[in-house]
Amino acid sequence: MKPLLGAPHFETLGGSRLIGRAESYWGFKSRDLEGNPLRRSAHVALGIWFSRHWSAEQLATDALAQLSVGPRIEGVHDVSRALLGQEWADLSVADVALLAALHDLPHRRRNPTCGDNLEYIRGRRDWRLRELERACVLSQRELEAALRSPLVFAPTFSDWPPCPGAKPTSEEPGEAPVAR
């Protein structure tokens, strides 16, 4: 696997997607001096401020620190432990792509036990992996190995959003889905 953006001195432009995420997170979290939600102009200014002051690496670090699944679990360490049953530092590239894919999905698509969501999530993960190959981070062989790896979720994770249209019947967590 090729080293990517690795050296500490290396800084890239923030990137519009990362800036949008940071602006959205911090903008909706902040309140103005009177305690009201920020105006649209302040959101735009915050986005410009991020593009001026934070590098892409800093924005990505911030996004990972804010990553959440459900209302109770925040931060990529807790998320990867709860959702995948592994430490963040031990995740494979396929697992990182899976987290990124889940992070992007609307709520109704996140629960892999609902309908065809598991296949949908796999499709999104695979698309992310192909993006990595296009960015020359993965070789063709590494991509193929990552595409073959199964989607395995921690069996104890029970914070999935309810399936659309389903009535809440039980507090019992569903069986952990595994797609091979």
Binding site: G6, A7, L38, A45, L46, W49, W54, E57, V96, L132
Partner: protein, 82 residues
């Protein structure tokens, strides 16, 4: 000489035409930013090389193709990368 003297106000006017809109945009930006009482702070997170590597994968997935670029000074391999 007279011609050069006549050019001076024109150049000043052109300079103002260029600078004033930029200054106005900057003022608008600062005015809007002043609504944010506390600017974001970076998370205090000392990453291990393994964590950093995964962060870089994440970053590569988040950047669109046009936003990726290589380091002109040549970063060299970071610790922990193969």
């Amino acid at each position: 000489m007279r011609r050069i003297r006549g050019l001076r106000p024109l150049l000043c006017l052109l300079g103002l035409i260029l600078v004033l809109p930029l200054a106005a945009i900057e003022w608008l930006y600062r005015h809007a930013l002043a609504q944010v009482p506390e600017l974001p702070t970076l998370p205090a997170w000392e990453m291990t090389p393994d964590e950093q590597r995964r962060r870089d994968w994440w970053l590569a997935m988040e950047l669109r193709p046009g936003e990726r670029r290589s380091n002109p000074s040549g970063p060299g391999p970071s610790p922990g990368t193969s």
